[in-house]
Symmetry: C2
Subunit: 111 residues, 2 copies
């Protein structure tokens, strides 16, 4: 691969929030890659953004988890004008299926 | 790909719990694929198991999210003897890095 492995987000001590976005992509790019990159960039500059982890498999299945300080920071990003446009195109063109789950991280551990 | 795309878990209405497991694999299989399949099979037969979504990218980054009825069902699975063995091998051989986050899903929506 040309790009380094996606890093594991270095989040603060819980509690904080996670948005778990699970998806299955349609075939073809249709502007997806550029928009996806732009959304990650925009999200990471929102207030309350803590980090993001994203993986897509060769079969088109993807999981993106973004981490946020508060529910308010999540709803702010959900209502962002550019993000609303991406959400609409996601429903219409890019995703065969998806699920969004908003969860409060209560504990965390790792290496 | 030979296998169909990983399905999106059909979970009940929130609240329920999510275990977000983010990892970076070491190179080579070293028994990982077989153990991984076995763990998914064992987990799915545990009381309180609601579903699982798992994606690994070509760069070795992976995200697995398992869904559970309660914190008790999560701690039961964490202490499972076979799972404890897999956790140890994961730390020693299979994962360069990983993070585990336990979160309470408060709301969910999708297609």
């Amino acid at each position: 691969m040309d790009s380094p492995p996606a890093p594991i987000a270095r989040t603060p001590e819980p509690p904080y929030y996670a948005v778990i976005f699970t998806s299955r992509r349609t075939e073809g790019d249709a502007g997806y890659a550029a928009m996806s990159e732009r959304m990650v960039d925009l999200a990471s500059r929102r207030p309350g953004f803590l980090g993001l982890e994203s993986v897509r498999g060769a079969d088109g299945s993807g999981i993106t988890v973004s981490y946020w300080e508060s529910e308010e920071s999540i709803s702010g990003w959900k209502r962002d004008v550019d993000h609303l446009g991406a959400q609409r195109q996601g429903r219409e063109r890019w995703y065969e299926d998806y699920a969004v789950r908003v969860a409060k991280v209560e504990r965390a551990y790792g290496r």
